[in-house]
Symmetry: C2
Subunit: 196 residues, 2 copies
DNA sequence: TGACAAAACTAACGGTTATTAGTTTTTATA
DNA sequence: TATAAAAACTAATAACCGTTAGTTTTGTCA
């Protein structure tokens, strides 16, 4: 069953990772078995090991792929020629975009990273801290420029990230159907609050 | 090792539940073993079954105890003679209070309810929906009274609950030390936003 | 078509899981 | 101090886990 050789190298592994992301999101990493994952792939469990090294490696791939993407976006946002409000808005919108378009992987990265084995777990946390620190820096600059209220930057970061990470989208996105409005509404709430 | 009979009835079970909550928060429900829980209690694993029915029963106790407490508070808030803004503020403050004072149990209820077996899982989700619906109703009334902006109530509920459920406090609470300020800052952000 | 490699298969492994059955120890009360 | 209940213990169970070794099937290209 050889594929197109060099071009599709890794394609089968990516399909496993995607299937695993959906499974891990629905049931949790530890509660998901390799046999169950294999069944979803229409294959016996040992066959998976022709493509991956271990169960933990799948979780590792998912978590760090997502972490890299968020850090990459953060880097671009910080290089943008724009005011700090625009930057924060761009970050929130990226989070929502990722949640809506890569729900399973983002959810797994946000909820199952605790199951990573050391030292991967610490490395992942380090990337997260790095991300939050850069986020915090943007808010500090915005306060200095008078764009934001004089809040504790760390708390603002915590509130925004917590809000945006925990959103359970499936129910809402189905009802709402109008994604741009959904995103705008959430962004507005986090930036402008509830009170007129 | 008989205790004071009737008075302390259930005390041993409660100690198991508390110990389990700390363990489940740190490692996740499925990744935690009964042997590990027993070790933390200074006991062999089978001894636990003199006090509890099953591992799943522990998770059930934790999740539904927390759900009851939140619904009880919601009921009281809705009966309060106050405007809707005050009500929302009271709800947010209760969430933060519970997070700070019953961190393990609240965290487990928020993150591990997926591991409940049917029909408990559906029942838990039903209680959650009930809670969110009552929350949504308060926001609708606030909009009608002109206290709030004309937002989608469901989205406001989702943003606030998502923010407040996901907060990872321990790091922050240790640094901050000043809990009243912490609570006020978070409440202010969720109600008044970031922009002056 | 024959050769080669990719990817599937079966069988089995040691280890861990939650849980039971039956027994012994501990402890409070009468 | 004798009694009875509460709560600990040891031993063992069947089920399931991730993973390996070795073999067979499948598909592609020369």
């Amino acid at each position: 069953m050889a594929r197109i050789r060099t071009i599709n190298k890794g394609t089968r592994r990516e399909l496993i990772n995607d299937t695993a992301a959906a499974l891990f999101r629905a049931k949790g990493f530890t509660a998901s078995s390799m046999r169950e994952l294999a069944e979803k792939m229409g294959v016996e469990a040992p066959s998976l090991y022709n493509h991956i090294g271990s169960k933990g490696e799948i979780l590792h791939s998912i978590c760090f792929k997502i972490a890299r993407e968020f850090l990459h976006n953060m880097k671009q946002v910080m290089q943008m020629p724009a005011n700090e409000l625009t930057r924060i808005e761009a970050i929130i919108r990226f989070h929502l975009f990722m949640m809506l378009n890569h729900y399973d992987e983002v959810f797994v990265a946000n909820h199952e990273w605790r199951q990573l084995e050391e030292p991967a777990r610490s490395e992942f946390l380090s990337l997260r801290n790095q991300y939050e620190q850069q986020f915090s820096q943007i808010i500090s600059q915005g306060i200095k420029a008078g764009e934001f209220k004089k809040v504790e930057p760390q708390i603002a970061v915590l509130v925004i990230l917590s809000a945006v990470r925990g959103l359970e989208f499936l129910n809402l996105a189905k009802k709402h159907r109008n994604t741009p409005n959904l995103t705008t509404d959430i962004t507005n709430h986090l930036l402008k609050g509830l009170i007129p």
